[in-house]
């Protein structure tokens, strides 16, 4: 990466962090699930669970860890119900690629580095929607990145 690209990338990370940390207490995991999880950051769960609540949620919906208050996943389901996005929580999410930590999740979504669109990324999705993508063989493994 050249110095200009590097500066550009760092600025992107800086603004992403500023924006998402302020609004969602983002932990910069690099593979964002906000829109899948009712705009609640699942990495705020003390166990960083990405597929649903653990077995320790109290009967009143509190987290088993003191000081957290409402279980993060309880909140995700509550908010998802409000936003009518419950179906998005029902898909199995792959294990997090920890090498993405600290990188820009927006760029990862664009390039597919976070495994989105079977690793082909948003740029592929947009191209294919615009009909710019030639139908090359797309049998991706669908495996975690």
């Amino acid at each position: 990466m050249g110095p200009v690209a590097r500066f550009g990338y760092k600025s992107l990370v800086y603004f992403e962090k500023l924006f998402k940390q302020t609004l969602f207490d983002c932990r910069m995991c690099g593979a964002c699930h906000l829109s899948k999880n009712g705009m609640v950051c699942c990495m705020n769960c003390p166990k960083g669970l990405r597929n649903g609540p653990c077995g320790g949620t109290g009967i009143d919906g509190t987290c088993e860890v003191e000081g957290i208050g409402e279980c993060v996943w309880h909140k995700i389901y509550r908010r998802s119900a409000l936003l009518h996005t419950l179906a998005r929580t029902e898909k199995v999410k792959p294990a997090l690629d920890w090498s993405l930590q600290g990188t820009s999740s927006y760029l990862n979504l664009w390039t597919g580095r976070d495994g989105s669109f079977e690793g082909r990324g948003m740029r592929w999705k947009i191209k294919s929607l615009l009909g710019l993508e030639r139908s090359k063989s797309t049998d991706s493994t669908g495996a975690a990145p």
């Binding site: 003390p46 166990k47 960083g48 669970l49 990405r50 597929n51 649903g52 609540p53 653990c54 077995g55 320790g56 949620t57 109290g58 009967i59 009143d60 919906g61 088993e64 860890v65 003191e66 996943w73 309880h74 389901y77 509550r78 419950l86 929580t89 029902e90 199995v92 999410k93 792959p94 294990a95 920890w98 495996a143 975690a144």
Partner: protein
């Protein structure tokens, strides 16, 4: 879930629709393997398999794989429990290699209690995976002999895989979804959290049955016989995810012989659960009271237990 030949004795018992009975065995809080030998006496001939816990309640204890090996030597079928709290995906896989190498093919995949609940609250929790992706990893490991990264290893590593479910934690919808995800990732059986409140358990079971999940996975219902009213009150206070109704505590307080009453209660629970469609077996978790297992199993009329047949070729010790 009936198509494949059974990989373990426990799987065979469940496939044959014999109401299974299993128990939990906690390793020592010290360099003491003899404890497992002692505890195995309470299990042999009384349970179909014994589950070796992994730093249960986030309290440091002996690692489960060697304990499971000793248990196997003692003639009790072991199930290894592994949590994502203490091990990353690399360590989990090396433990799995060790257990399969030792001829142990039952694995229970757990997320694990948070470290702040145990005796090392200052420890760094790993939580590299969640239990669902752990199950996915283990399925691939077992069926394709592949590591998480896709690399193939030599030799077969058949595994009968379990997961956990808490029927009582809200929201119910999330519990159903989570079980669905575990099934999608290849789980074979499910252990439930300790059941004290049957109506609440029934609500969950109904939700599970509505989705037909009880036909895709064996459900082992958890029962915790507690020695005294104090032990129950303690569990209510300090064990995460356990819900004890006050009625039961009063019942134990009023009992002349609380230990006897606890066994009575456990037997009643077994009879209740046995009559429910979708419950494939019960899992006893007597906290520091393994000696109660034979009495409970005997009084519940669950003896004799099915004989363990010689291991099939594919699973035979290599």
């Amino acid at each position: 879930m009936n198509a494949k030949p059974p990989r373990t004795h426990l799987e065979r018992v469940l496939q044959e629709r014999r109401f299974s009975i299993t128990a939990e065995v906690g390793p020592a809080k010290g360099p003491n393997l003899d404890l497992i030998r002692k505890k195995s006496v309470h299990c042999k001939g009384y349970v179909d398999a014994a589950f070796i816990t992994d730093n249960q309640s986030a309290v440091v204890r002996m690692s489960p794989v060697p304990c499971a090996m000793v248990l196997k030597e003692c003639g009790v079928e072991p199930v290894v429990q592994l949590t994502c709290r203490d091990r990353n995906r690399m360590a989990l896989q090396s433990e799995m290699l060790a257990m399969v190498g030792a001829g142990i093919h039952n694995l229970l995949c757990l997320t694990g209690d948070h470290q702040s609940l145990g005796n090392h609250p200052m420890a760094r929790g790993v939580f590299d995976l969640d239990s669902i992706s752990f199950i996915g990893l283990a399925r691939k490991f077992a069926d394709e002999s592949r590591f998480f990264n896709g690399e193939q290893f030599k030799g077969a590593a058949p595994l009968f895989l379990g997961g956990a479910a808490n029927p009582f934690a809200p929201p119910l919808h999330a519990r159903v979804v989570r079980l669905q995800k575990k099934i999608a990732n290849g789980v074979d059986f499910i252990n439930t959290q300790a059941i004290f409140d049957l109506p609440m358990f029934d609500t969950w079971l109904e939700a599970i049955k509505k989705e037909g999940l009880h036909e895709k996975v064996y459900i082992l219902a958890g029962i915790v016989p507690a020695k005294s009213a104090r032990a129950l009150a303690f569990m209510k206070e300090s064990i995460s995810g356990v819900f004890v109704p006050d009625g039961l505590i009063t019942r134990m307080e009023q009992a002349k012989n609380p230990e006897d009453e606890a066994i009575n209660w456990a037997v009643e629970m077994i009879h209740e659960l046995k009559n429910r469609e979708g419950v494939a077996g019960v899992h006893l978790m007597p906290v520091m009271w393994e000696a109660a297992i034979p009495e409970i199993v005997t009084r519940a009329g669950l003896l004799p237990r099915p004989e363990s047949a010689p291991q099939p070729e594919s699973v035979a010790v290599r």
